[in-house]
């Protein structure tokens, strides 16, 4: 296998470094019959997958276990995909170049909807039947987790089971079951049944769905006795005790986030109404600063990286943020270690921290006001005011930065034309702040880079009932924006509405979409998230062949009483709270952040999650 890969594949592709493995801190083991051989599959290219903190956590956690060997598999880029199909090279793992079909279990992580075709294509490359029902005992068990598993239904036909929520504990419980199945102590069905009893595991084969004449869901129910009606997400209670990799892999080729990623907390205090992560990762759980610092020290020594990124959903909300930054900057001044904070906020923005972390690279800063008008920001509960924006812009330009990047969304619920126009007004105001700074203090050049994404309603958020804008509506709004932008110092970029429209369908979809995915893969759809590969017409054809109207899922306003495809997933936040939040959004009323006041979302009173909601 190694010889074939080296001779027939590696020298024929653009970046062979993606497929060689063997990186510093990657794990080699001698595989024994009594060990579980686990393939961690990331349905995107190496550079994207290796940047993902979830992969690092689970890979190293699984390999800490003496009776598990976890290897990595990534989606081969289109050039390698073509060579592998032509030369009939099966999908293989990076550590030992073993065909994926020979593994005991393949675990996919679903980070974004547009990777679904890659999952199916990887199964095809591996020579594994796509549908769970078509696979036998000789096939690996195929499972999936990650944020998209919070509405697992569009992928339900293809997966044997899903992990719902945080994986560190449940993946080991599953591994124990899989080992018993491998040894013959459990039949496949028994193993799946026992898995379905674990909190955080969903076995789609044990459920049946019936539909009303109008296409909406009539009933979603287990088909076997003893299978739970609702599946509860799994969470980690103590962030100081949970496993975290302190000898992370160091890739040879440059990846997207090529640095140490140090997690500092889970959950988010903010509750922005469009943000799925803000609801599904509740409650907020901090790592102590002692743990964070200790883990950073170990990771630095084990990798030789020169940069640490403090990651979370909103890193400046971490109370010990400044202390940790100071510590690293002072302790590692000699070996030139820098710190990155991926999510800066415009309220409570600390110019001191920003100055410290960016003292070496004065490229620019990025903020996400998300909406142009103050009213819209209240609708989405973003909670930053125009005053915050202007104050931050003045500080940033006053400290010598010349570039501010601003992220917005269009197509948000209850949006009017003037809300769109205010995006440009805000950008203009930010630019005015630059001119308000004295000439000798400010940078010689200025750019305000405005990026406007298309809003996709997400499950488990207050906006889950909303109709997404149609492609035509998005295009109209984009034209409107472009016509308003006159200043050359402001640059404007917008997202591909065709892609966002598909994202909406698969985010909000049900298991009938499995057929569409199969047709799309037959049409050759892969890497749909990549503009240079994405082909919308192939998708139009796939929907037609599957006789499914995408608008039913994405562009239809749903009522509170409708059974939604993901209603059986219990993330601990009550539906009544989501309804209340949506009603407040209509009135442009905000909800305070969790630290200021508890808004009784339900997580704190849930028997499984309560008691440690700060």
């Amino acid at each position: 296998m190694r010889k074939i890969i080296e001779e027939k594949l590696l020298l024929k592709v653009q970046k062979p470094g993606r497929y060689i493995g063997g990186e510093c801190n990657s794990v080699q083991k001698e595989l024994r019959e009594d060990m579980l051989h686990f393939a961690f599959a990331f349905p995107d290219i190496y550079e994207v997958g290796m940047s993902h903190v979830g992969l690092k956590i689970l890979y190293h956690l699984l390999n800490e276990q003496g009776n598990i060997w976890c290897e990595r598999v990534f989606a081969p880029w289109v050039d390698a995909d073509a060579v592998m199909k032509q030369e009939q090279i099966p999908l293989f793992s990076l550590e030992s170049y073993t065909p994926v079909k020979a593994f005991d279990v393949v675990g996919f992580t679903l980070q974004y909807e547009m990777c679904y075709t890659n999952v199916l294509n990887m199964l095809t490359l591996a020579g594994i039947a796509l549908r769970s029902e078509d696979r036998t005992e000789s096939d690996p068990v195929i499972m999936a987790g990650g944020p998209c598993a919070l509405n697992p239904e569009p992928m339900a036909d293809f997966m044997d089971l899903f992990v719902i929520g945080e994986g560190e504990e449940v993946v080991l419980e599953l591994a124990a079951l899989l080992l018993r199945y491998k040894k013959g102590e459990l039949s496949k069905r028994e193993m799946f049944f026992q898995a379905s009893q674990l909190q955080g595991v969903y076995v789609p084969g044990f459920y049946e769905v019936s539909y009303h004449a109008d296409g909406t869901i009539a009933e979603f129910a287990p088909t076997s006795a003893g299978v739970p009606e609702r599946v509860k997400k799994r969470i980690i209670r103590d962030m100081d005790k949970v496993y975290y990799p302190t000898k992370p892999m160091v890739p040879y080729i440059q990846i997207v986030h090529d640095r140490i990623t140090q997690e500092i907390f889970r959950g988010c205090i903010r509750g922005c109404r469009f943000c799925q992560a803000g609801f599904v990762y509740r409650p907020v759980r901090d790592k102590s600063k002692e743990t964070v610092i200790e883990q950073i020290e170990q990771s630095l020594a084990a990798t030789g990286y020169d940069e640490v990124s403090l990651v979370s959903l909103s890193s400046m909300d971490y109370l010990a943020c400044e202390e940790v930054v100071n510590y690293v900057m002072e302790q590692h001044a000699k070996d030139k270690i820098s710190v990155a904070l991926p999510s800066l906020r415009m309220d409570g923005f600390s110019i001191d921290i920003a100055r410290k972390i960016q003292q070496v690279r004065k490229t620019g800063l990025t903020f996400a006001p998300e909406a142009g008008s103050e009213r819209m920001r209240r609708v989405i509960n973003k909670g930053i005011t125009e005053e915050d924006i202007e104050k931050t812009a003045l500080e940033v330009f006053g400290s010598g930065w010349g570039r501010i990047k601003l992220y917005f969304m269009m197509g948000l619920p209850y949006e009017e034309e003037e809300d769109i126009l205010e995006i440009i007004t805000v950008a203009q105001k930010v630019l005015d702040c630059y001119y308000a700074v004295a000439k000798e203090k400010r940078n010689k050049n200025v750019t305000v880079a405005v990026s406007v994404a298309c809003f996709v309603p997400k499950p488990h958020t207050p906006f889950q009932w909303q109709a997404q804008n149609t492609i035509e509506e998005f295009q109209k709004k984009q034209r409107l924006l472009k016509s308003q932008k006159t200043n050359r110092k402001i640059t404007l970029s917008t997202h591909e509405p065709y892609l966002s429209a598909l994202e909406g369908v698969f985010a909000l979809g049900d298991r009938r979409l499995g057929k569409v995915l199969e047709e799309a893969v037959k049409n050759g759809c892969i890497f749909d998230g990549w503009d240079e590969v994405f082909a919308y017409e192939k998708w139009v054809d796939a929907f037609q062949k599957a006789k499914i109207d995408p608008a039913f899922y994405a562009n239809r306003q749903k009522g509170y009483e409708e059974k939604l495809p993901w209603d059986f997933i219990d993330v601990g936040v009550e539906k009544a709270f989501l309804i209340q939040e949506n009603e407040k959004a209509k009135q442009a009323q905000t909800t305070p952040n969790c630290r200021l006041q508890c808004s009784a979302c339900g997580i704190g009173t849930d028997a499984d999650y309560g008691g440690f909601c700060q």
Binding site: L10, L11, P16, G17, I20, G21, G22, E23, C24, V250, Y252, I253, Q254, A301, A302, T303, G304, Y305, D306, D335, K336, V360, R361, K362
Partner: protein
């Protein structure tokens, strides 16, 4: 201490680009804890310079780097090799005297084997014969040749040979100029042989840089 180290790029490492190797060395130097010197400026990085890149896929036993660290040559070799990946190992370290020439100024030769998948040994032999014959002609009747271009290549070719290896594959052995200012790559040599002597090959060949000689 100024150090010059010769290292390998073989096995999996041959599929990595020059910039990947640079990153591997920088990170290894941090892990090895050898007090490497940093560059000045806004974004300080370990101060290491490298010999010019070889073509991706080339197996090499003669890559060079130069740096400055708080350790002896022997320590550098031992501690770096402990943290460097297989296939990218330091094989020799020279401790440089104060004022020693930078490697970019040193005269060097490299000894290559080009192994072909789809070329007969006989074709290589014929091409080399043509090359040698023209050399003789050029000495006898210099006025009949465009000597400037020819000579610039010939000045950088020190030895050519053809033979079959143990797998029965055709090998083109060549010793070429590797001085940074006048380097001749195996790829450039093959291109020249194609243009001038009709030597045809596809992309299916592997270059092995067996030795680098510093003069």
């Amino acid at each position: 201490m100024r150090l010059r180290a010769m290292f390998t790029k073989e096995g999996k490492m041959r599929f990595l680009s020059h910039l990947d190797i640079v990153r591997i060395m920088e990170r290894a130097s941090r892990r090895a804890n050898i007090g490497i010197k940093y560059s000045e400026g806004f974004h300080p990085t370990p101060k290491i310079t490298f010999s010019p890149p070889v073509q991706l896929g080339t197996i090499s036993y003669g890559e060079l780097l130069e740096t400055e660290a708080d350790c002896s040559g022997a320590e550098f070799l031992e501690r770096m090799n402990r943290v460097l990946p297989e296939g990218c190992q330091i094989i020799k370290v020279f401790e440089l005297e104060e004022g020693a020439k930078k490697m970019s100024k040193c005269a060097m030769k490299a000894d290559y084997e080009i192994v072909f998948e789809n070329v007969d040994c006989e074709e290589v032999v014929i091409a080399i014969e043509r090359y040698n014959a023209r050399g003789v002609e050029m000495d006898e009747k210099p006025e009949e040749h465009d000597t400037t271009k020819e000579q610039s290549i010939r000045d950088r070719v020190f030895y050519l040979d053809a033979y079959e290896n143990a797998d029965g594959k055709a090998v083109f052995r060549c010793v070429l100029d590797a001085t940074q200012s006048s380097i001749l790559s195996p790829k450039a040599l093959l291109e020249y042989f194609r243009e001038e002597y009709g030597f045809m090959t596809d992309e299916n060949y592997t270059v092995c840089k067996n030795e680098l000689i510093i003069e």
